[in-house]
């Protein structure tokens, strides 16, 4: 009998899937390879009512091949061009897992630029939909390469709104969920500060602290669960080429 070694990428996919447990009948927005597989796993297991997107203009009853659009296959069930997306955002019937170039202890996220925005050291993509997403519906983050350059004391540009800034109307529908990384899963404590929920098998609390630019307490953190045999079959079927291992080697 051989023992199957569970890969880190598959642990991350299962953690993403868990983040969408109980989301209900909403449009799943997943940026990145691991998140894209994770929402498919969520739909295939505990949340069949979840609505998937092809990343272009369609909501998909049966998803196209990974990272491809409806033109490559699958079954569209609704037409959701970009103009509908902003209305769906404002309706709240959406759940995002976005990337992040910086995240601080309050959950502020930056994808806009590094340094002073007036003349940035490094210009990134722009705030995109992060400000709107975070004040309208549940938002999680995915960080494929957890480091102290990403988990910083203070973000240079708050693109996604953190818990400390979510006051008044900005706080009405504000709902930060989890941050899944290649090392751990984080949530937020009662004060809205980032806290460790679980640490991935094979990662030490010291490693995790070293890769995080603000103090965290991982000493008593439980291990992130491993995917089940059934889940592994689904993951393999959704990603037969192993694209997830490019994101999390």
């Amino acid at each position: 009998m051989t023992t199957q070694t569970i890969t880190r990428a598959d642990v991350c996919v299962a953690a993403v899937s868990d983040a969408f447990k109980g989301s209900g009948e909403v449009l799943a927005h997943a940026v990145g390879i691991v998140p894209a597989i994770g929402v498919r796993l969520a739909k295939a297991t505990h949340t069949p009512e979840l609505a998937l997107s092809d990343g272009e203009a369609f909501m998909m009853a049966a998803a196209p091949p990974l990272l491809k659009t409806a033109a490559a296959g699958g079954t569209p069930e609704a037409w959701v061009p970009f103009r509908s997306i902003f209305d769906i955002v404002a309706s709240g019937r959406r759940h995002s897992m976005m990337g992040a170039s910086q995240i601080d202890r309050h959950g502020n996220q930056n994808i806009s630029s590094i340094g002073d925005w007036r003349r940035p050291k490094r210009q990134l993509i722009g705030v995109r939909g992060a400000p709107g997403n975070t004040v309208n519906h549940r938002v999680d983050y995915w960080v494929a390469k957890h480091s102290a350059r990403i988990f910083v004391d203070r973000v240079d540009v708050a693109s996604g709104v953190g818990n400390d800034r979510a006051t008044g109307t900005a706080g009405r529908f504000h709902d930060l969920g989890v941050i899944v990384t290649n090392l751990a899963v984080f949530g937020y404590d009662d004060a809205g500060l980032v806290k460790v929920v679980s640490i991935h098998p094979g990662v030490t609390p010291e490693e995790l602290q070293e890769a995080t630019g603000f103090p965290i307490d991982a000493a008593d953190a439980p291990l992130t669960r491993e995917p089940t045999a059934d889940e592994l079959k689904i993951i393999e079927a959704e990603d037969p080429k192993g694209l997830r291992f490019k994101e999390v080697p």
């Binding site: 272009e56 203009a57 369609f58 659009t69 409806a70 033109a71 061009p81 970009f82 103009r83 902003f86 955002v89 404002a90 806009s112 630029s113 925005w117 003349r119 940035p120 050291k121 490094r122 210009q123 990134l124 993509i125 722009g126 705030v127 995109r128 939909g129 992060a130 400000p131 709107g132 975070t134 004040v135 309208n136 540009v157 708050a158 693109s159 996604g160 709104v161 800034r165 979510a166 006051t167 008044g168 109307t169 900005a170 706080g171 009405r172 529908f173 504000h174």
Partner: protein, 270 residues
């Protein structure tokens, strides 16, 4: 029948330095590249550019033609960042920027199209979009305790958009999966220049596709330019997809430390 056809070579004559120009499409998708090239070939400069940015913004920024940029992002989609745009920002070569949340950008266009001074939206509250745009104001709801961002209406002197088909009167048709916001760009502008893959008869527009594909009515279009391949190297589905190889060569030339690599690319491109 009205004939609004305009030769490509006469497009720059409709533009002036200092104008506010809206550019349709999204990222590296259905960008009016043939029209943008006409700007690049002309001495028109000092522009305020309003766009969901792709290589249109990168090229205009590299050519030093942008005085102010209003955007939610600049991306080449299959390649996340446009090196011409990032370089211009990092060198301080775009004097003024208005970076908005994407939803705010649409709200601004809608307000502009509706001739309203602003449109309220939740997006932007609590984020640094407010700090990056110190002129932005919030508005109190007259009905309850909510407070929203009042996105000022974006009015455009000229909009440049590219669609699949149009008739000579300027009724524009898209045949791909997403209209993007090209109709809004047209409605928010005083003058709209529409380029298309092919000009066809009005009968032909609905002979081969459902009427819902008629995105932009002629009442919002001033000039129609027939420009086959006019979105290249961005996508113009279903006529053609993005030319990924060409886009890679664009990125390589833009990234190069040697200015001659870029000059060579630009000359070949134009």
């Amino acid at each position: 029948m009205l004939d609004k056809t305009l030769p490509l070579a006469e497009v720059a004559g409709k533009l002036e330095s200092g104008m506010t120009i809206g550019i349709g499409g999204w990222g590296s998708r259905r960008k009016p590249m043939a029209l943008v090239k006409e700007i690049l070939r002309s001495d028109v400069t000092d522009l305020t550019v309003v766009a969901f940015g792709g290589p249109d913004v990168g090229l205009l920024a590299r050519a030093g033609k942008i005085r102010k940029l209003v955007y939610g992002f600049v991306s080449l989609d299959s390649i996340p960042l446009d090196p011409n745009f990032t370089r211009a920002r990092e060198r301080g070569e775009i004097p003024e920027t208005s970076e908005y949340d994407e939803g705010m950008f649409v709200a601004g266009l809608k307000a502009g199209a509706n001739r309203l001074s602003f449109q309220p939206i939740r997006a932007g509250l609590g984020s640094d979009v407010m700090a990056m745009n110190p002129d932005l104001k919030t508005v109190r709801s007259p009905y309850d305790d909510e407070e929203y961002v009042a996105v000022p209406g974006l009015r455009l002197d000229v909009s440049l958009i590219h669609l699949n088909r149009a008739d000579a009167a300027g009724n524009g048709q898209y045949l791909g999966p997403d209209p993007y916001f090209d109709d809004l760009f047209a409605m928010a502008a005083d003058t709209t220049i529409l380029s298309v893959e092919q000009i066809v008869s009005t009968d032909d527009l609905t002979a081969k596709a459902p009427p819902q594909t008629l995105l932009v009515p002629r009442i919002f279009v001033n000039h129609v330019v027939e420009a086959p391949g006019g979105a290249h190297f961005t996508s113009c589905d279903p006529d053609y997809g993005r030319d990924e190889e060409f886009q890679k060569s664009y990125v390589a030339a833009a990234k190069s430390d040697s200015d001659s690599d870029w000059t060579e690319f630009e000359e070949r491109y134009l």
